[in-house]
């Protein structure tokens, strides 16, 4: 059985990998501070997967009776969405990113990010900002998050991604106060971008795709045909309604929804960032 692995990529970013977890992280600061930060992150990462595995059956259920630090963060992130179906696993990537980020941030580190397969946790010192490039349908979008913004987490979900989706969004990117919150919300919004009665959309029970899936027999999207403009608009509307509801409740700061070349968004911050991005690209 393979253990956790830490390595520095040629450009100085930290790569952490263990089983299904694949993290690229970067801190900014003096060399000594960075070395210490990498050591802290690597040491913390060593046991992350084992901690999660110890409570995996519970994390794959809706019960959420867990004791681990990361596990509890996962449960807290999905709780607000009850009674809708969402297991703590919906926030696992974001919760792990946050945990690693907490160790990376430290003396001398002005800013840092931990990108866990697209779910990103941010650390920003006073007056600092980070710009993230988001690979989305049809090109790159850039989002700049400043220390004064409430955003500390960015997550993307969609049926084309590694996790299963009940919806048809190519991608839903969410900015939220934490990576775990963004992760859970992105899953929920991506699920909401849907055309439940469209016959061309192919779905299969999650178990048939991955025997251990926390989604059980729920039908997950495996193929989406080219949709008519009306269908695209209807699906995005459904997703946007969910996103706006979550934003009103303070669960997210902003969201952008992508479906077959079209996109909609909610949240002033992200909208501004996107228009700014257009000028740069």
């Amino acid at each position: 059985m393979s253990g956790a692995v830490a390595a520095l990529l040629p450009d100085g970013r930290l790569h952490l990998q263990h089983g299904p977890i694949d993290i690229v992280a970067q801190g900014f600061g003096p060399d000594d501070a960075l070395r210490a930060a990498h050591a802290r992150a690597a040491a913390r990462f060593a046991t992350v997967l084992d901690e999660l595995v110890a409570e995996l059956p519970m994390l794959r259920s809706e019960m959420g009776l867990v004791s681990g630090k990361i596990a509890r963060r996962m449960v807290l992130a999905v709780l607000p969405y009850r009674p809708a179906f969402l297991t703590p696993m919906a926030a696992v990537a974001g919760a792990v990113a946050e945990e690693v980020l907490k160790t990376l941030a430290g003396p001398g580190i002005t800013r840092a990010y931990v990108n866990n397969g697209g779910d990103i946790a941010l650390h920003l010192g006073p007056d600092e900002s980070l710009t993230c490039a988001l690979a989305v349908t049809g090109g790159l979008e850039r989002v700049t998050v400043a220390a004064s913004d409430p955003v500390r987490g960015i997550a993307t979900s969609g049926w084309r991604g590694r996790s299963f989706s009940l919806g048809i969004a190519d991608a839903v990117t969410v900015l939220a106060r934490s990576a775990a919150m963004a992760d859970a919300a992105a899953t929920m919004i991506a699920n909401a971008v849907d055309l439940p009665d469209h016959r061309g959309i192919r779905r299969r029970p999650a178990q048939e795709m991955q025997a251990d899936s926390d989604l059980g027999a729920r039908a997950v999207t495996v193929d989406v045909p080219a949709l008519s403009p009306a269908d695209r608009a209807a699906a995005l509307r459904a997703g946007l309604a969910a996103a706006e509801g979550f934003r009103a409740r303070g669960l997210i700061e902003a969201a952008a929804l992508f479906l077959q070349g079209e996109s909609v968004a909610t949240g002033g911050g992200l909208l501004a960032a996107r228009s700014e991005a257009r000028e740069h690209v």
Partner: protein, 487 residues
């Protein structure tokens, strides 16, 4: 998961296998991948669908992969010698599409290009060298795995037994089970796993690359130091003065020190010994016994069977001492002639014990070695260059360096690109298979950028190492750094 349908779970249950690649221990049903997307259940077997493996020599020192138990992570950067391997790079179809990774990286100041692909080899085989003096089976005998023919015993060029397994006729020319089992046996051997095989008219052998062979249930320990005659040549001087006669029993050439040139040079006295064998030159005898699992690869369990009557006229006398030893030193016996000139076994004197130990010490550990032999066909070469034959010529001409999973290959002279590689030089689990049946092996072609373009290389597909890392191939999505396999 409250309303998870138990039916669906039960239906999938019998074929699900547990992946032990990481602590998650996913149950994976056939055709599915685990939570990581890196390991999948392909027809009841966990296989890697792994990200590209990048090798670095510097990693072997352990600087690059940080053991988490150690708190002294020094945070060094990835070494500049990082080499993208074909492992996990995936393959593309149809063939004229560029190989999944065409990487440009600076190598010794030259702007180098590495074309990385995983090749599907239906025309491939493995050559197995088994270090043992024991008789495994006659040349040409069929080698079977699970009752299916997978290859044969081939010519022995030296003291080891050679098997030739796989090849297109067993893979696709025979029955379906024959092809399937041939493929599975080769895959196991190439990935360093043990395979039990039965040789027609011979032995049952367990072969595992880098491990001693197990012949009829008995693990081999030592490879003989040389033939019986060579052993005499090596150690005659050490026996001088300690014993009157030495016979080194060997299936090939049994040596007798008093008659052997090496003994003559030292002034060894004649002993009146008589060997029942086919004398080649003085002190060297062929066919003292049949091949078998006894002394020195013969059938002998009592070495005295090869001795005729001792001749007094030629020097035999009561009290004359005799050492009989096998070519590995594993079997040995000490005799003293009685009044009737019959050898009587006695305990081995201490002084001779050292000489036997010396033979043993000079024997190398008995190992199985497995070489993968494959040919890179035209379709694969088309993924590398638009004019595939130029790639062939470039490899033949030594301009393009061919490696398999980062390991050096021996390229056979002559037509095509047929290469051999020691499977232990590749990272573990580097080989895969497709149900054709055929093996999938990683392959990298490295050549100067200018030469690559000159042969009609896919220029538009060339990416920097960083970009290849960032973007991945057409199918895989990540890269992994690994140390070069330690030998």
């Amino acid at each position: 998961m409250s309303d998870a349908a138990p039916d669906a779970a039960d239906r999938a249950a019998p074929e699900k296998i547990r992946c032990d690649a990481c602590p998650v221990m996913c149950y994976i049903a056939p055709g599915q991948t685990g939570a990581c997307d890196r390991y999948a259940n392909a027809a009841g077997r966990i296989v890697r669908t792994d990200p590209v493996v990048m090798l670095s020599h510097a990693l072997t020192g352990g600087q690059r992969i940080v053991p988490f138990a150690a708190a002294d992570w020094d945070g060094e950067t990835v070494p500049p010698d990082t080499f993208v391997t074909g492992i996990g790079s995936g393959t593309t179809y149809p063939d004229y599409k560029p190989a999944p990774f065409i990487v440009s990286s600076q190598v010794a100041g030259a702007d180098m290009v590495t074309v990385v692909t995983e090749a599907i080899f239906s025309y491939c085989g493995v050559k197995v060298k088994i270090d043992t003096d024991r008789f495994l089976g006659p040349e040409g005998a069929v080698v079977r795995v699970q009752g299916e023919p997978v290859g044969h015993v081939t010519t022995a060029e030296y003291g080891s037994q050679m098997l030739s397994l796989g090849g297109v006729h067993h893979l696709t020319g025979g029955s379906k089970p024959e092809g399937r089992i041939t493929c599975a046996a080769m895959l196991s051997l190439c990935n360093g796993e043990a395979v039990e095989m039965e040789i027609e008219g011979g032995a049952r052998v367990v072969v595992q690359a880098g491990q001693p062979p197990i012949v009829d249930g008995r693990p081999e320990r030592r490879m003989r130091v040389g033939c019986g005659s060579a052993t005499i040549g090596m150690f005659a001087a050490q026996w001088r003065g300690l014993v009157d006669e030495v016979v080194v029993v060997d299936d090939h050439i049994t040596g007798v020190v008093s008659e052997h040139q090496a003994g003559k040079v030292l002034g060894w006295e004649p002993t009146g010994i008589k060997i029942k064998g086919h004398r080649s030159t003085p002190g060297r005898y062929f066919r003292v016994s049949e091949p078998g699992l006894g002394w020195g690869g013969t059938r002998l369990t009592d070495p005295l069977e090869i001795l005729g009557d001792w001749q007094e006229k030629k020097g035999a006398r009561p009290g004359l001492t005799l050492l009989m030893v096998s070519t590995t030193g594993e079997d040995h016996a000490f005799y003293v002639l009685d009044a009737a000139l019959k050898p009587v076994q006695q305990p081995l004197p201490e002084a001779l014990r050292d000489t036997v130990a010396l033979i043993d010490e000079n024997c190398e550990p008995s190992l199985c070695t497995v070489l993968f032999v494959g040919g890179a066909g035209g379709s694969l070469r088309a993924g590398v260059a638009k004019n595939p034959v130029r790639l062939t010529r470039s490899v033949q001409g030594g301009v393009t360096r061919l490696t398999s999973g980062g390991a050096e290959c021996f390229v056979w002279p002559g037509g095509g690109i047929t290469f051999m590689v020691d499977v232990l030089d590749l990272p573990k689990g580097a080989f895969g298979y497709v149900p054709t049946p055929a093996l999938v092996a990683p392959l990298e072609f490295t050549l100067p950028r200018a030469d690559y373009l000159a042969m009609g290389g896919h220029e538009a597909a060339i990416r920097s190492l960083d970009r290849a890392v960032a973007e991945g191939g057409e199918y895989p999505t990540a890269a992994r750094l690994e140390s070069w396999p330690l030998r």
